[in-house]
């Protein structure tokens, strides 16, 4: 399952980040490591990007990038 498919309010755990290069480093630095818990706070008013809560802070991610984050529901 990928992060972009989840509805607002869902809590999930990261399995693997399939991004490369700059995006991969950026996501790792922002705490997208295996096992980290992410909750989907909301979608933007125009349905993209999405607002997430990870490690107790808020972050926005475009869906095209969220697609690269493999997750499982908690």
């Amino acid at each position: 399952m990928c992060l972009d498919e989840l509805a607002s309010g869902t809590l999930c755990r990261i399995i693997k980040v399939h991004a490369h290069d700059a995006l991969k480093y950026k996501l790792l630095d922002m705490g997208f490591v295996s096992g980290a818990q992410v909750s989907v706070v909301r979608e933007a008013p125009l349905y993209d990007p999405m607002e997430l809560k990870i490690h107790n802070y808020l972050l926005s991610l475009r869906k095209s990038e969220a697609k690269l984050v493999e997750v499982e529901l908690v």
């Binding site: 980040v17 399939h18 991004a19 490369h20 700059a22 995006l23 991969k24 480093y25 950026k26 996501l27 790792l28 630095d29 922002m30 705490g31 490591v33 295996s34 096992g35 980290a36 706070v41 909301r42 979608e43 933007a44 008013p45 125009l46 349905y47 993209d48 990007p49 607002e51 490690h55 107790n56 802070y57 808020l58 972050l59 926005s60 991610l61 475009r62 095209s64 990038e65 697609k67 690269l68």
Partner: protein, 819 residues
């Protein structure tokens, strides 16, 4: 001396801590990545000099952004003694991720737990001593916003300098053998930094470190592949996960969250501000308020500041050499020209001040990234970024704005390509100084359809800017670096009054300093080009003869009165005329309350002249001379105006304008329009002034500029439509170009920003004018067609699919590079 590097993640309040300990002021903002330049401050404590260098805020210490490279190169090359790590106590886990990377560098680290007040408000109980014990480094609680913790931080720095320090090590378990092997590869002639740190960074594939170790790069890459084969993990992910795990351990053992799961104030505010139905109304309201209070009210404020500038102008005229009837010394002309150029810029200061203060508030509050979040989807389609909203609005989303603050507001845009595209498309927005120009043309040629035309003009610009952004991002900017839209939405903060005001003044000052000097330099060049080579000898003789005739008739009239003797020389009449003009100029720019003072002033200075300027009620002869004086003043203005026109016509700029005619005729521009556009480069206001002065051929007919232009120019509304189209797309003003240079850091882009719009504007104007002439369109028809095309083109371009790389896999880079 103790050299201290100040490091921390964005939004941790690093700038406030920097100001707190070094006592120096610096840009403070609540926006990821705004501190790009290196700032340092020096102070002494107990006889010891301490230098603090503020590193850019970075989430990590890898090399994937410019800021991170800058920070790491500083550590490697400048060898600080101590690293002070500012940690946002309310967001401790993610902040500790950076702390572990800093500890690994091998230098003594002092952790400053900032925003302790915010953490307490959120119900977080932080055991500071426990963190200090676990990390074996001093941990100082502080609150930069409240000014708490300065002594403790300085004390910790002093102690850290004298206390022996054992290198910090994280046990990376299965990676350890690899680290040791890599460490052995790093020879002693490598930089002075910790070899273990270099080894870890090299294994991470850090380009800054690998550049320093060219001989072993291949061997290290080989080891990483080995590790991947053996454990099915890549080194970067493994290290990141280990560091987050370590941060998690500290978080769980030293922080108790008493309000876990409870909604924070930020959560509640976001529920409204980012709500699907409320977000757009709120966004429009905020943009409208900014626009209204800065552009509209700020413009009204200029009514109060303008008299100051006018007084300055009168003062300069007062100290310049006086005119000898129609012979005005060039130095006086020059002084007036320079003051006018300076005033045109200074006039906008109230607007900028309000605007910059409001932007600073938005930055501090944390609304900027939210604005990007709301609008990203639209702007993404045109290659821009959600963060492009504010620059475009400031550039003039409604009736008028200014590209200068707009371009200055692009600084925080994280995506390099979108930032460049925004910088280059903001100048197409509706510039406030173009409005008088439009009003002049609309008044002259579109009196009946003025409202419709103004609507077209003010709404077309946004679409033009979007089209330009799309064109640029798919062509010249195509290869520019884009960064992923991974943006923190920091908690809302109340801005501090001091911080906001300070930043607003700082930015205005920067504008005056950087833009002002260059605008004045260009003004000098333009003056020379308009003034040289000057009138021919025959023209001079002819004008002199006309002046003499005027004077002779004045003498004759004066001789009929008892004042005749005193007013029979060129000197005395010139003096009277100059005093009269000066008096009128001062009275016009003064408030009614000051009028009495001015009268008294002139009475004291020139009592004799004042007899005629303000003749006593019982002196019929003085009144006669007053009448003559008024006529003479008007006639002199007429001659001066004609002289000026002749001078412009034969000037270098006039010559250039003429020599451009063969090309510009396709757009319907004659040399006069060309000169107006050329002179508007210094400040757009001068386009109106130049056109006005060219068309007011005979000052005696007292026509308004609009009427004069409609009657004397021989243009049709179609000409006017082509001129307006050209003006919509161009010309960029010099102040904007300076800011483009500052923000792109390159003269090449500045030149591009000058010539691309000119080409585009000329092509569009020529196309409309040539087609319009061929098909016999009226001005409004031609403009409506242009407007429709722009909208259609923008919608079409927005609907083009985004070409984005969102696949992965394939051969690794090393193979591709070889083939």
């Amino acid at each position: 001396m103790i050299k201290v590097a100040l490091a921390g993640q964005p939004n941790c309040g690093k700038s406030t801590i920097f100001n707190l300990i070094s006592g120096l002021k610096q840009h403070i903002a609540n926006y990821p990545g705004v501190t790009v330049e290196k700032k340092s401050g020096t102070f002494s404590h107990q006889g010891e000099t301490i230098e603090v260098v503020d590193l850019p805020g970075t989430y990590s210490f890898s090399s994937y952004s410019l800021e991170e490279r800058v920070a790491k190169e500083f550590i490697l090359n400048e060898e600080p003694d101590i690293i002070v790590n500012v940690v946002d106590a309310s967001n401790i886990k993610r902040n500790l991720y950076l702390t572990f990377q800093l500890l690994e560098i091998g230098k003594p680290v002092v952790v400053v737990l900032n925003m302790m007040d915010v953490a307490a408000r959120r119900g977080m109980d932080i055991d500071v001593q426990k963190i200090a014990r676990m990390l074996s480094c001093p941990v100082v609680p502080a609150s930069g916003a409240r000014g708490e913790g300065k002594e403790a931080i300085v004390e910790a720095i002093m102690q850290a300098k004298t206390t022996p320090y054992n290198e910090f090590k994280i046990n990376y378990e299965e990676l350890e053998p690899l680290i040791e092997e890599t460490q052995a590869l790093i020879t002693t002639d490598s930089p002075q930094a910790s070899r273990r740190w270099l080894a870890i960074k090299a294994l991470e594939g850090d380009s800054v470190i690998l550049e320093k170790l060219p001989k072993v790069t291949l061997a290290i890459r080989e080891k990483c592949l080995d590790f991947h084969r053996q454990y099915d993990k890549d080194v970067e992910s493994f290290l990141a996960a280990m560091r987050y795990d370590s941060a998690d351990v500290i978080y769980h053992q030293s922080v108790v969250e008493k309000q876990q799961g409870k909604k924070t104030a930020t959560d509640i505010a976001d529920g409204l501000i980012l709500n699907r139905w409320l977000s757009f109304p709120i966004l429009f309201l905020i943009i409208f308020l900014i626009y209204q209070s800065s552009i509209v009210y700020g413009y009204k404020l200029t009514d109060y500041t303008w008299p100051l500038l006018a007084a300055f102008k009168n003062f300069i005229i007062g100290i310049s050499p006086e005119a000898d009837f129609t012979q005005v010394p060039m130095i006086t002309d020059f002084a007036i020209w320079m003051v006018n150029s300076a005033n045109a810029l200074l006039n906008y200061i109230p607007i900028f001040l309000i605007l910059f203060a409001l932007i600073a508030i938005l930055e501090d509050v944390g609304y900027m990234p939210r604005m990007a979040f709301i609008l990203d989807r639209i702007f993404k389609k045109f290659g821009l970024h959600g963060q492009s909203t504010l620059p475009l609005v400031l550039g003039g989303a409604f009736v008028g704005g200014c590209a200068v603050p707009g371009i200055m507001a692009t600084k925080g845009i994280a995506d390099e390509r979108a930032r460049m595209a925004t910088i280059l498309s903001v100048p197409y927005m509706n510039c406030l100084a173009k409005v008088p120009f439009y009003t002049l043309l609309l008044g002259a040629f579109f009196e009946a359809q003025m409202a419709l035309m103004m609507f077209f003009i003010s709404t077309a610009t946004l679409f033009i800017a979007l089209i330009v952004a799309k064109i640029l991002t798919t062509t010249v900017l195509k290869t520019r670096e884009t960064s992923p839209f991974v943006m923190e939405l920091p908690p809302y903060h109340l801005p501090t009054f001091k911080g906001v005001i300070f930043r607003a003044f700082e930015r205005v000052w920067m504008y005056i300093k950087k833009v002002g000097t260059i605008v004045l330099a260009v003004a000098i060049v333009l003056f020379a080009m308009l003034e040289l080579p000057g009138l021919s000898d025959e023209q001079k003789v002819a004008y002199e003869a006309r002046s003499d005739a005027l004077l002779t008739s004045f003498y004759a009239q004066a001789a009929k009165t008892s004042y005749g003797e005193q007013l029979s020389t060129r000197e005395s009449v010139s003096g009277l005329l100059n005093t009269y003009d000066d008096y009128r100029a001062r009275r016009m720019s003064a408030s009614p309350a000051q009028a009495g003072n001015i009268d008294a002033d002139f009475e004291a200075k020139a009592p004799f002249y004042m007899t005629f300027i303000k003749p006593p009620a019982d002196d019929a002869e003085a009144k006669t001379i007053n009448r003559q004086l008024r006529n003479l003043s008007r006639d002199r203005r007429g001659i001066l105006q004609e002289m000026k026109n002749d001078k412009v016509e034969s000037s270098l700029l006039g010559f250039i304008g003429r020599s451009l005619e063969p090309v510009t005729q396709f757009a319907g521009f004659d040399w006069k329009i060309n000169v107006a556009f050329l002179s508007s480069f210094a400040a757009r206001e001068s386009a109106v002034a130049t056109l006005g002065s060219i068309y007011e051929n005979n000052a005696a007919d007292n026509l308004r500029a609009e009427e004069a232009m409609a009657q004397n120019s021989g243009y049709t509304p179609l000409h006017a439509a082509a001129i307006i189209i050209f003006m919509l797309l161009t010309p960029p003003c010099i102040a904007t170009m300076i800011v483009v240079k500052l923000q792109t850091g390159s003269y090449k882009w500045m030149l591009f920003a000058i010539f691309f719009p000119i080409t585009l504007g000329f092509l569009a104007a020529s196309l409309i004018f040539t087609l319009g002439t061929g098909f016999g369109w009226s001005g409004v028809e031609a403009f409506a067609l242009f407007y429709g095309t722009v909208i259609a083109l923008a919608l079409f371009m927005g609907s083009l699919p985004q070409k984005r790389i969102n696949w992965s896999g394939g051969f690794t880079k090393s193979i591709l590079n070889k083939s």
